[in-house]
Point group: C2
Chain length 145, copies 2
Amino acid sequence: MRISTKGRYAVRVMLDLAANNTGEYIKVKEIAGRQEISEKYLEQIISILNKAGYVKSVRGAQGGYRIARDPASYTVGMILRLTEGSLNPVSCLDDDVNECERCDTCETLGVWKELAKAINHVVDNVTIADLLERQQERIAGSYTI
Amino acid sequence: MRISTKGRYAVRVMLDLAANNTGEYIKVKEIAGRQEISEKYLEQIISILNKAGYVKSVRGAQGGYRIARDPASYTVGMILRLTEGSLNPVSCLDDDVNECERCDTCETLGVWKELAKAINHVVDNVTIADLLERQQERIAGSYTI
DNA sequence: AAAATTCATACTACTATAGTATGATTTGGA
DNA sequence: TCCAAATCATACTATAGTAGTATGAATTTT
C-alpha cells in the first residue's frame, strides 16, 4: 500500500513548477537540483506529465518546462493516477463492471470499495494550488520566528 | 497502492474460520477448498495468523485451526497490518519520529498523513464480526428471492 | 506402523520499482 | 554554420516484492 517515488516525485515536480512559475521555461536540471531527484529519472517522470498535457515543453537550448494550467486545476489524485496508475486497493474495482468470479459472494468487496472511496476522497480534494498555499504559509511563518 | 493477495486471503481465512466456527478444528484443506486458494500458500498465511495468536492450531491427524477470540475483536486493519506490513502510503510515517531529511519542508507530507488517516479509519472500523453479519444478511436475503 | 495433518524452509517465476545509460532530435546563440 | 544545451526516446540493470510451489520434518490419531 505504498505510493511509489514516481507518483510522489510527479506531485513535487508539479508543485515546483507552480511555485517557480514566471512564464519562463524551467530546465529539468533546476527542478532536479531543488527537489534532489536524479535528473534522468525526473526526465522520465516529467515526460509523462508532458504527454498528458499537464506541463508544456520547449526543446533545444534555453528550453524547459512550465506548468500548463492553473495550479488549482490539478488535483493530487489526477497526478498520482496518471503516473502510478489506479489507486484502487484491488484490481477488480478498476473495471466498470466487476469481472471477478467470486464478486457476488465476496464479503470483503465492501471494505475495498469503502477504502477506494476514502483514498480517492483525500487525493481528489487537494490541488497543487492548496499545496502552494501551504508552502507559502510555511515560508511566511519561518520569517517571524 | 494495491493490497496483496496475502492480506486479502488472510481476511478471508479469518472470516471463513469465524463463519464455520463450531469449536472444532478446521483443516487447511477445507478452508482452501471453500476459498479457492492454494493449500500450500494458505498454510503460509495461516501460519502468520497462528504465530500472532489470531488462530489456534492443533497438529497431527484430525488437527486444524480455529479462530482464537471473538470475531468482533479482529479488525480488518489488524489482519492487514499483520500480513502486509504497514498500511501507510509513505515509509517515513512508519517511524514515531519522521526520519526523512526533507520532512521539515515537505509540502506533500500533509497529504500522505491525511491519506494514512483515511485508510486506517476505514480498515480499523470493520471487524470480522461485521463481515460475518453482512454475509449472513446476504445469505438470508438470497432465500426470499 | 501408517496416515493425516501442521510446521518450517527453500526454491522459482514473474512483475514492479528505481533508477542509469546511450544516443537522437531540436534549438538558440557564437 | 556549427556547437552546446536542452528535450525526447529507449534500452538496460539491479533490487525487491508477489504469488506461489516443493520438499520434508514433526506431531498426533487411528
